[in-house]
């Protein structure tokens, strides 16, 4: 659990000293399972700042909404920090216009895993100091192990610590085991072709094309997404198998060398569609084939963002 008072004090300091114009963080939600992203412009507003394991969004998704001249403070966990780095590399905001308040992350709690055990009528959720959470639901009180409730992307997180924050509040945590990230890739990639295809179809074809995955993703900032393009049309826009599969394949491919494995796409999905297994596969390829991990700094270009005149594929140049 991060020290909330220290977070607030730092957020207030950077506002008072004019380091930033706005601080992006979280505030308590109107419902117990859903804290909300929040934007603080004054020190009075900062008093509302809240931060716990249920804060499920990747705040870096808001970065591209602001003018590049605006000085922005942001609470960043490991994945958010890497997303910010990737966005800085892609020219979406100058690093000097940012002040990152880093928080080592113990993992995001997947509210779906709570309601699976307590029923969906949850009245309150309290994180306790012994790594358990106390849930008051209509069906009774539940004490649940936080570890068992982590979103899968967080359970296999490799880099929980903010990597290039301007200040870090809280003790750094041990790095995760890359083998865990590989396990999800292997569990899918090793399936026989037919089963792999069936798995993909079963997930993709539940899609209702609401694009919550796209909007939740910091790296999906195109002004016009390929699915919204009218001439030429790249994919069917309806919920036909071709349309749904087309969306999920191309969305994942556009993340090659850009996805930070934060899992915000899955957490936003109203149909509980698994999709990080696709991006994890691409991330795994990036690690193994190019020794590249997204967002470890803001200067190393992703392998697919580099072009040289002596490129072996002549069509590129």
């Amino acid at each position: 659990m991060p020290d909330l008072d220290a977070l607030k004090a730092e957020a207030k300091r950077i506002l008072i000293e004019g380091v930033v114009d706005i601080v992006i963080g979280f505030k308590a939600g109107d419902t117990p399972l859903h804290p909300q992203p929040a934007f603080f412009k004054t020190i009075d507003e900062v008093d509302q700042l809240a931060f716990d394991g249920l804060c499920q969004n990747n705040l870096a998704t808001y970065l591209t909404r602001f003018p590049k001249t605006q000085k922005i403070g942001m609470l960043v966990r490991g994945c958010e920090n890497r997303s910010v780095n990737a966005l800085v590399f892609e020219g979406q905001h100058p690093r000097e216009g940012l002040y990152l308040i880093g928080v080592p992350c113990e993992g995001i709690i997947d509210w779906r895993k709570i309601v699976a055990q307590t029923g969906e009528e949850v009245i309150s959720v309290t994180e306790q100091s012994d790594n358990t959470i106390l849930v008051e639901a209509k069906s009774g009180f539940f004490t649940l192990e936080k570890k068992t409730l982590l979103h899968e992307s967080c359970a296999r997180c490799i880099h929980p610590n903010p990597i290039s924050a301007d200040v870090v509040i809280g003790e750094l945590l041990p790095e995760g085991d890359p083998a865990l990230a590989r396990a999800i890739v292997a569990s899918f990639a090793e399936l026989p072709l037919q089963e792999r295809h069936a798995w993909f179809r079963q997930e993709a074809e539940r899609c209702i094309r609401c694009y919550a995955c796209r909007e939740a993703c910091p790296m999906c900032y195109c002004e016009e997404c390929f699915v919204d393009h009218i001439s030429p049309r790249w994919t069917e826009s309806g919920t036909t198998p071709a349309g749904m599969q087309g969306w999920h394949i191309v969305r994942a491919f556009h993340q090659t060398g850009r996805c930070t494995s934060c899992g915000a796409c899955e957490r936003a999905c109203p149909m509980d569609i698994k999709m990080t297994y696709l991006t994890e596969k691409l991330n795994d390829d990036m690690r193994r084939k190019y020794n590249f991990e997204v967002g470890l700094d803001a200067t190393t270009p992703p392998p697919f963002s580099t072009v040289t005149l002596d490129d072996k594929s002549r069509f590129v140049v």
């Binding site: 109107d30 419902t31 859903h34 909300q36 699976a116 009245i123 609401c210 919920t239 936003a268």
Partner: protein, 339 residues
């Protein structure tokens, strides 16, 4: 008509209906519940979730639906409307009520949607009243309620060992024709249960004067604040039982004209051919979503276009709560000049 159904005979009755109808009821799909056709050995999932994740509007207005087939050389044929007799069992009153609002859209005097109308006519809708209020719902606030009859051919009230069945139409009467009449005592108990459920449901926000407030504050800076964390996805509207917007697309390769769900929360929804977009940002789109439900529907049919099912609250990826948004809107100043 008030009838009585023993709970242990429910599955028998559902199976009997399957002779003549396709019977849809909430069943588990992945981690949530969904209206699916009953198959042999079905398991109902009423205890898993209060409401299905996708509202039953999807059974009348599918996410995608082909309206017409055509060829490159000028020929075309209309796709006939779906008329398979169906029963939807276990629909919640909020969702059924919403269907009556959608009827005013798809069955207007001059323009009737044949696909919607055919499905509506071929379907019997059996509701299950809500004994316990759900955390995110607010039906009684917006003129619906846990035992509201609107849009239902029959409704069930849980009396413990038995279910009291009230029928409201010939369709409903026919469906339950085999059952015995309920006693006066059972009917009285049902009324008590229904009344208690209604009283347990808290009022979430003030609706008196809300429309006027929203109309007056069309140009208010409040909308910037209200939409600041909105992702601009379609979760709230796609899962909404009263949202009905669609887009019509020609899938030229397949030769099909298709109607797909669309939403005012998308940039492309209001984008015009010239490139101009009258709702250029999430600010205007958020205002549109709330205003449509809480002022434009009121202008058109004198009802709030929301039945308080609470799905938008429960599934918003950033935790936006329409109840809180409207509470704040109600506190806005009156008489703000229009833009």
């Amino acid at each position: 008509m008030n009838l009585i159904l023993k709970k242990d005979q429910l599955n028998h009755l559902l199976n009997a209906w399957r002779q003549d109808y396709e019977v849809y009821a909430p069943q588990s799909l992945q981690n949530f519940t969904h209206f699916l056709p009953l198959q042999d050995g079905f398991e109902l999932a009423f205890d898993k979730a209060h409401n299905t994740r996708i509202p039953p509007k999807a059974l009348f207005l599918p996410t995608s639906e082909a309206l017409m087939k055509f060829t490159r050389f000028g020929g075309y044929e209309q796709i006939p409307s779906e008329t398979t007799p169906r029963v939807i069992f276990g629909i919640r009153p909020c969702d059924a009520h919403a269907m009556t609002m959608l009827d005013t859209v798809f069955e207007q005097e001059r323009y009737t949607d044949p696909h919607w109308q055919a499905r509506r006519e071929a379907t019997v809708v059996v509701g299950l009243g809500c004994h316990e209020p759900c955390q995110t719902g607010f039906c009684t606030t917006v003129g619906s309620g846990p035992f509201n009859h609107a849009g239902l051919d029959a409704i069930l009230t849980d009396l413990g060992e038995t279910l009291l069945v009230e029928t409201f139409s010939d369709k409903g009467d026919r469906l339950f024709a085999q059952l015995e009449m309920a006693s006066v005592d059972q009917s009285v108990r049902a009324i008590e249960v229904q009344q208690a459920a209604k009283e347990k449901m808290p009022i979430a926000f003030e609706t008196e004067g809300l429309k006027e407030k929203l109309d007056q504050n069309f140009a208010s800076p409040y909308w910037e604040e209200a939409s600041r964390s909105c992702l601009g996805c379609g979760v709230c509207t796609f899962l909404c039982p009263t949202c009905f917007c669609f887009d019509i697309v020609d899938e030229a390769q397949r030769g099909e004209r298709v109607r797909n769900w669309d939403t005012c929360m998308f940039r492309t929804y209001s984008l015009e051919a010239s490139g101009h977009n009258p709702r250029p940002s999430r600010v205007e789109r958020t205002r549109q979503r709330l205003s449509h439900k809480y002022t434009y529907w009121v202008d058109q049919i004198n009802q709030i276009g929301c039945t308080g099912c609470g799905r938008c609250v429960r599934y918003c990826p950033v935790g936006l709560d329409i109840r809180a948004m409207l509470r704040k809107a109600h506190q806005l100043p009156s008489e703000v000049a229009h833009a």
